[in-house]
């Protein structure tokens, strides 16, 4: 018997806390009345309305695990953005934020889907993949997981400390960073944009049938997806989330 259909409605979430992470990013923690839970990887649409009725809408991935009580959105402040500067500069605890979701069940992962799990992120593309990593952690799941994370610099690695902590206590979770613009002294890790050679070294072999989720700016996503298929991964097991011109 089919489940009763649900009409997706706009809800007002209450900003409980805002927390800066890197110089350009901030996490927003929201209490959303009527929130029915989500699957790691899904996103919400956020809508801002001005006094005169003008509206702007953007999509943001849910960075929180389904097991978390609060909804967490990761916002990267785009210099000439219309929505992100409001979310990072103006929005504060106690404010309302209109959103609807969760949406986009295609780009989602639950522990019961297994793995191995290959996660590839560029900058704020880490958000939906962080939800997957946190979900995996909350569920006590040991699916072999590798995150290849491209950031501009060490200071700009989003969720760096939490990722370090999660990986240090869990040998089934490996995190490989690449820093594309500047490196700290003594850096021995990757120092260039993700390419096929790097993926060949980092990714699980295609024969292990990994599930891959790639998220970030469109050029990175397309390079990675093309490379993974070129290395022999099944196209249906490579899921992509391009951010497009308005970020993610």
């Amino acid at each position: 018997m089919a489940e009763a259909p649900r009409k997706l409605a706009w809800r007002i979430g209450e900003v409980v806390e805002t927390s800066p992470d890197t110089p350009r990013t901030k996490s927003l923690f929201l209490d959303v009345p009527g929130w029915a839970g989500h699957r790691a990887g899904q996103h919400v649409d956020v809508r801002l309305t001005a006094e005169d009725g003008y509206q702007a809408q953007r999509s943001y991935s849910l960075a929180s695990a389904p097991e978390d009580g609060r909804v967490e959105l990761l916002v990267e402040r785009l210099e000439d953005g219309e929505v992100s500067p409001y979310l990072t500069d103006e929005l504060r605890a106690g404010d309302g934020l209109e959103l609807r979701g969760p949406i986009g069940g295609w780009f989602a992962w639950e522990t019961r889907e297994g793995g191995p799990l290959l996660l590839v992120a560029g900058g704020s593309g880490i958000a939906p993949l962080m939800a997957m990593i946190r979900h995996r952690q909350a569920a006590g799941n040991g699916t072999p997981t590798r995150l290849l994370f491209s950031s501009r610099s060490y200071e700009e690695i989003i969720f760096r400390q939490e990722l370090e902590r999660l990986a240090s206590g869990d040998e089934t979770l490996q995190i490989i960073h690449t820093l594309t613009r500047s490196r700290p002294e003594g850096w021995t890790g990757y120092d260039r944009r993700i390419d096929e050679e790097m993926l060949d070294e980092v990714a699980f072999p295609p024969g292990e049938g990994p599930l891959a989720f790639v998220c970030g700016p469109t050029p990175l996503v397309e390079t990675v997806a093309t490379a993974l298929v070129g290395l022999g991964h099944q196209p249906t097991r490579v899921k992509t989330e391009r951010f497009g011109p308005t970020g993610g």
Binding site: M1, G104, G105, K239, G244
Partner: protein, 91 residues
């Protein structure tokens, strides 16, 4: 590199205004080339003028949606590009 070209998943929001079932995981067959795959795996062009989901194999317009917000509001939905949609009852 085409910045306007997004994954089908990006159309989830506007499609969720019309379909009450999860559509990004619905399987769609292209009426033009026959390729079948999840809607989320197709390409999407999502802007204020309208949303167009295109076949990842041949760029045929599978689903088109226009939404009018003024007044009582209307939607226009074109599914001619889709041979069929296969939907999951339960997950």
């Amino acid at each position: 590199m085409d910045e306007q070209r997004l994954d089908g998943n990006a159309a989830a929001g506007v499609l969720a205004e019309i379909f009450t079932f999860e559509i990004t995981t619905a399987r769609a067959a292209c009426a033009r080339c026959g390729a079948a795959g999840e809607v989320g795996a197709q390409m999407a062009y999502v802007t204020e003028i309208g949303t167009v989901v295109r076949c990842a194999a041949c760029d045929n317009a599978l689903i088109r949606v226009v939404r009018q917000d003024d007044g009582p509001g209307r939607y226009w939905l074109d599914l001619k590009g889709v041979e069929y949609l296969q939907l999951q009852q339960r997950f």
